[in-house]
Each structure stands twice: as C-alpha cells, then as structure tokens.
C-alpha cells in the first residue's frame, strides 16, 4: 500500500502545490474549503490534469509529466465517491451498481447481488436514486465503486450532503463498510472529527500546500504548523518571544510561560486549545493569567467564554499590529475558553475564577 503524489497546477492566481506520500491504508486530507483538496483528488482520479509532477499509486505510475504518462480515468482503477454521489438518475439501484462491470452477464449479476447484500440495499434494487434517502444514496454510490474493485477509493467530503444527525451514524457505517477493503482509501474533509475518526495518516493542506503531515493522532497532539493547529481545532494563538529553552513571552496573551519541555528554537507561535484551561480561585501561581470576560455563548453541551487577557492593551508595546489575514486577527483578539457541561456547575457554585492556568504540557509549539 503506498501513494506518492507530487503535483503542481495553476488555476488563475491559485497555485496547487501538493507533495505527500503515505504507506497507510487510510489517509485523511484536512483543509478549509477552497484549499485544493478536491482538486488533488480529481488529479489522482484523472479527472483533472496537473501542470507537472507525478502520481504513483501502489507502484503504478498514473501520471508523470516528464515521461508523458497520463492514464485515462478509465485505466486508473481509482474509485471516486463524489460529494453529491453522482448516481445516474435514470438508472435503478441495480443498474447503477452494474454500470462499471465488464464481466459476463452471470458474473455481473452475482456481483451486483453480493453488493446489494453487503451494503444492505435489499428491496431497493428497482428504485431510482431520486427515491432514496441520503444515506441510502451513499451506500449505492459506495456499492457501485466497490463492485468495480478499484485499487484506491477517494472520498470527497462524503458527509457534507447529509443532515447533522445522520452524520455520526453514517461515519461509523462507512468505516465498517470499508473495513474489509484491502486497498487504500483517501478521505478529503474540512471536518476534523471526520478525519480523526477515519484516518491513520493525516495530511493538512493550507492554501494549496501541505502544511503538516503525519500519523493522525500524533498530528492532533503536536500539529507543528499554525494552519494544522487551527484545522485540528486549536482556537488560541500567540506570537512568542523566546527568552530561553524553557521560557517564552506570549505577546498576545500578556504572560511569560514556563515549560518543562524544551521550546524548539524555530518556534514562532504558541497554540492553546480552548478546552485545556484550568480555572483557579485564590492565589496566582505560575502560568496563570487574569482576564476580563468579553462574552459567552451557551451551546448544547458546553459553555464558551470569550476573554480578554489582562495586561494586553491594544497598541501597547508587545501587542502585535501585524496586518495579517483576518483569521489571524480574530485569533489574537480574544482568548477562547470552552467549558464542558459537567464542569459548568462548579463555576456556577464558585463564581468566575480569578485566574486561568495554562497547563504547560498542553501548550503547542508552532512554527
């Protein structure tokens, strides 16, 4: 199992410059919308042609600009699950599943029946796609791909067309249905929960480039890049001024943080997840900040607080006035502190904490 992609493609002012390889059977690609995720998948499938580079899957060269190799999508043996499933609207479920089959009539019928059983589509054989629910459509689309036995399956935002309450169940279903599939599966998504659950290896894309890659769980713990940290759900970022191996001034948080771990020299930012703050009442200790509450929002299972750290004044020395992208601005403007339901009661009992503590082991060192 291996995939090796190194491609460039220019689209107007956007430059897709992808370079990644993985030996894993389950690969996730995480990125915001419009970052080039779908374009990458389409290039692997042969629907889009990169300007240059190579695509090698399982040792088979699908595309190589230098050698003038560009296999037709029909020859690539790559299955593609489209965002809207792309079921053929005038064909019944059976015919959709049989669409790509080349064998004898008897073989095809057996294969279709096997897929119908495997994907629990019994009784829906004669239905048209328009008469199916979203989840059923997804199963048909997947059955159609699996019937064709591709080397690789590409999932393009497979859950974006589904209702919120269906997603969780279908994510589990999809993982189970792909369980005995021996080939490589690449899932593209903008949803960190989906990729976390699904993939062994993760590639984070930001503005057409690979921003970080590695083992999924490892990457969530230590995202390395700011884009990867943000995509994996980190809300708080601060530019730092590194004073020594274990101390750094977090300029946007107005605090000097001490760490047990050594801060790598090329660290430019700290990241801190909104769930990791510890409220403290009473005396101020190390790595604690005082704050003003700027606002709060009640969510079904948690309470979100938006804070302004004390000691950081806009325009004051140390406060960064970099005219960066709007997202970077928002990040520094307020600190986010998210408290889960069970813990809200404690807060209600004790009142707002005097300080918030950074757990030094949870601080993300970012480039």
């Amino acid at each position: 199992m291996s995939i090796n992609v190194k491609i460039k493609k220019r689209l107007g002012s956007f430059l897709l410059d992808m370079d990644f390889q993985s030996e894993s059977r389950r690969i996730g690609i995480l990125g915001a919308s419009g970052c080039g995720k779908s374009m990458t998948l389409k290039s692997i499938a042969g629907i889009e042609k990169p300007d240059k580079g190579t695509i090698i899957v399982e040792g088979r060269t699908l595309f190589d600009q230098n050698q003038k190799i560009n296999l037709k999508p029909q020859k690539r043996n790559v299955g593609y699950l489209f965002q809207n499933y792309a079921l053929f609207p005038a064909m019944t479920v059976e015919k959709n599943i049989a669409a790509g089959l080349k064998g004898s009539r008897q073989d095809n019928e057996n294969r279709v029946r096997e897929m119908i059983r495997k994907f629990r589509l019994e009784g829906l054989e004669k239905r048209l796609p328009g008469q199916l629910s979203g989840g059923q459509q997804q199963r048909v689309a997947l059955a159609r791909i699996m019937a064709y036995e591709p080397d690789v399956i590409l999932l393009d935002e497979p859950f974006s067309a589904l209702d919120m309450f269906l997603k969780d169940q279908l994510q589990q279903e999809l993982i189970e249905m792909l369980d005995d599939y021996k080939g490589t599966v690449i899932m593209v998504s903008h949803n960190r929960d989906e990729v976390y659950r699904f993939s062994e290896d993760l590639i984070v894309i930001d503005q057409g480039k690979v921003s970080a890659s590695g083992e999924t769980k490892e990457l969530f713990q230590n995202p390395v890049s700011r884009a990867a940290a943000r995509l994996t759900g980190c809300k708080n970022f601060s530019r730092i001024n590194r004073t020594d191996n274990h101390t750094a001034q977090a300029l946007d948080w107005g605090i000097t943080l001490h760490t047990q771990r050594e801060i790598p020299e090329d660290t430019g930012w700290f990241g801190y997840r909104a769930h990791d703050f510890i409220p403290v009442w009473g005396e101020r200790g190390e790595n604690m900040i005082r704050f003003h509450l700027e606002g709060s929002a009640l969510l079904p299972f948690e309470q979100n607080y938006y804070l302004h750290p004390e000691g950081v004044e806009e325009g004051a020395e140390g406060y960064l006035k970099e005219p960066a992208a709007s997202s970077a601005h928002e990040e520094r403007d307020v600190l986010c502190w998210f408290v889960q339901r069970e813990k809200i009661e404690v807060l209600e009992e004790k009142g707002n904490p005097d300080f918030l503590m950074f757990q030094e082991s949870k601080i993300l060192f970012l480039k």
């Binding site: 037709k72 489209f82 790509g100 796609p129």
Partner: protein, 234 residues
C-alpha cells in the same frame, strides 16, 4: 352531410401516408443527427460553439422558402452535388419523395438539436466523471447516462421535430414539388384545394392533421410521463 360522405369515399388518402412517412423518417434522422450534433457542441470550446450553433440553428430562423432555395441550389442536377448523387448513386432529390424527407429534415432538425443540447447542458458533469472513473467508455457514458438523463428534453425535442416535419410546406414545395401520390403532402394538398375554392376537402384534411397532432402529443406525454415520473429534477 351526404356531400362529405361522398368526398370521403372518393378521397385520395395518399397525402396522409406521404406526410406520415416523411414525418417519421425526418424525425428519425433528426433524432440521431440532433443528438450527435448536440454532443459535439456541448463538448467544444465557447468560441467554436457560437459559430457551429449559429449554423445549425439557421434553418429554424430562416423562412422555409429561403432554406428551399439553398436546397435547390445544392441538389439540382445541374449543380455539382446533385449531379454527383445522380451519376454515382442514381439519387434524384428534386421533385421526389427523397426531396420531401430532406426538406423536412433540414427544417425540423434545429428543434431536435436545440432541445437535446439544452437538456445535456443541464446535466451534472460529475455524472460523466463518475462514469469515467468506473471505467465506462465515453460512448457508453453518452448513450447509457447522458441520453437517458436528458430524456425529458430529448422527448420534447422529438415531439416538436415530428410536428414540424409533418407540416413542412415552404421548403418541401420548392424542393420536392407537389406531385400527387409522390410528393403531395397534406400541407400542400390543403393549399392546393383552397386555391380551387374547395373548402370542404380542405376542412377534412385540416381535421385529419389536428387528430394526428393530438395523438402524437398525447402519446409522447404518456411515454415520457411514465418514464420520467420518478427521476429527480435538479
């Protein structure tokens, strides 16, 4: 009333069969040519598209007599193409039933082409991509996916084409003439008997045309209504 019965008894039904035959053949030819042309135009670049589209739509916009004029220029046996067809294959177009078919096809074709094209342009391009990644050849994708999905548009194009071909008058009269029993279509028959002041016979033919028109539309709606009922529109 007796008068009508007498006319009906003595009526020469050949215009009905000539018109139907012409209409069916012209529709079949237009159906395949129109879909073929639509496919080519949908795939081509926007610049080329405008030019080709203009040429293919022209016969619908031009007065039929102008189209008839061009067809005469093309197929007259005193012209290279007409001469070639006659010498090599023995085909005579002018003043023959073949002329009826060609005239009707040329005039009705744009209706088929335009409807088919409009229907195909509505199709989600992912369907084509999906077909390709499933290993289907482009020809198979076209006939198995595109055409059925564009079904309603193609069906309505076919109805309009048949209706137009059935009633074609201007170009037909110029190219094929009005030879009773050979090229005399219903439209030409009506015009002819009206000139003789025979409104009764004209009325009978008008009634025949209206019945056919209703039958065709009813039939097509029935077929397309049944088949397309369950297809989701997007």
């Amino acid at each position: 009333m007796e008068e009508i019965m007498q006319i009906l008894e003595e009526l020469d039904w050949s215009p009905l069969f000539i018109s139907l035959k012409t209409g069916v053949v012209a529709t079949v030819i237009s159906f395949f040519l129109g879909i073929f042309a639509a496919r080519k135009v949908v795939k081509t670049t926007p610049g080329k598209k405008a030019v080709i589209d203009g040429i293919l739509t022209l016969p619908m916009v031009l007065p039929p007599t102008v189209a008839g004029f061009f067809l005469l220029l093309l197929f007259s046996r005193r012209r290279p193409l007409g001469e070639f067809l006659f010498d090599e294959f023995g085909f005579k177009v002018v003043q023959t039933w073949l002329g009826c078919v060609i005239a009707a096809t040329v005039i009705a074709f744009p209706l088929m082409y335009r409807n088919a094209r409009a229907a195909m342009e509505q199709i989600d391009v992912n369907l084509v991509y999906a077909g390709r990644t499933l290993g289907m050849s482009d020809t198979k994708i076209f006939w198995k996916i595109i055409v059925p999905t564009a079904g309603p548009g193609i069906a309505s194009g076919t109805i309009l084409t048949f209706a137009r071909a059935l009633g074609e008058y201007g170009a037909t009269s110029m190219l094929a003439g009005n030879i009773p029993g050979k090229t005399g279509t219903i439209s030409q028959k009506i015009a002819m008997v009206i000139q003789d002041g025979d409104y009764l016979t004209a009325g009978i033919w008008v009634a025949v045309v209206m019945v056919i028109a209703f039958l065709v539309i009813f039939l097509m709606n029935l077929i397309s209504g049944k088949k397309m009922k369950n297809i989701g529109r997007w």
